[in-house]
Symmetry: C2
Subunit: 99 residues, 2 copies
DNA sequence: CCTTTGTTTCGTAATTTTACGAAATACGAA
DNA sequence: TTCGTATTTCGTAAAATTACGAAACAAAGG
């Protein structure tokens, strides 16, 4: 079946993408931390969160792919922060969506 | 590994659940319609949306399970509406989350 | 009762997600 | 260069998601 070219709006697709990034409690938890206390390291999270480091790394990768989070290399650590611009975009999209 | 009993907060889990419900464009689309123009029937959606009726039915089921949407049987049709109470809860959760 | 209408459930397949431990990578320090 | 630390990627497995068409269901109308 030929994809009905761009049936969904850009906003709908963006919102779905951000929602997907937030569809797992650990990713919500990570964002909660990042939004409340600036940046943090993968290792700091690994000590708190009840999952394997490799799994945590996967979740961080997904958050990065969604655009909500960015990682700054600061060897040998990697500092994760919110991506302010995309965070604001997501905020706006959800705000519009719910009203 | 024993699940660290209730590691995530109730809010984090609820938000993840709502986010999951909104993690597919068609479900965002359906909610968009329901939030803008009251209720509608599965068949009305099926005519617009480029997916099989059975697949649409699955998505509606997920929206119902998440609590965002409710269905009223009105034979032989089923009328879908937003669940206002849960909608408001989700709105509030996302609002708090992003600020 | 049989048919039509609107919708969901079933069976199935392909893809994606989630998870883990082991191995790889990258860098600074000894 | 070798070691130690911090983190990611790889390989893999189990479970969930997404999708479809066929079959089932439920109620109204003939």
């Amino acid at each position: 079946m030929e994809e009905t070219k761009e049936f969904y709006s850009v906003e709908e697709k963006k919102l779905a993408r951000y929602a997907k990034a937030l569809s797992h409690p650990v990713r919500v938890y990570i964002c909660d931390i990042l939004s409340k206390q600036a940046c943090c390291y993968s290792g700091d999270l690994a000590e708190e969160v009840p999952i394997a480091r490799s799994t945590l790394s996967q979740h961080l990768k997904e958050l990065k792919n969604s655009g909500l989070v960015q990682g700054e290399i600061n060897p040998p650590k990697i500092k994760y922060c919110l991506n302010k611009e995309n965070w604001a975009e997501a905020q706006q999209l959800f705000k519009e969506f719910f009203k």
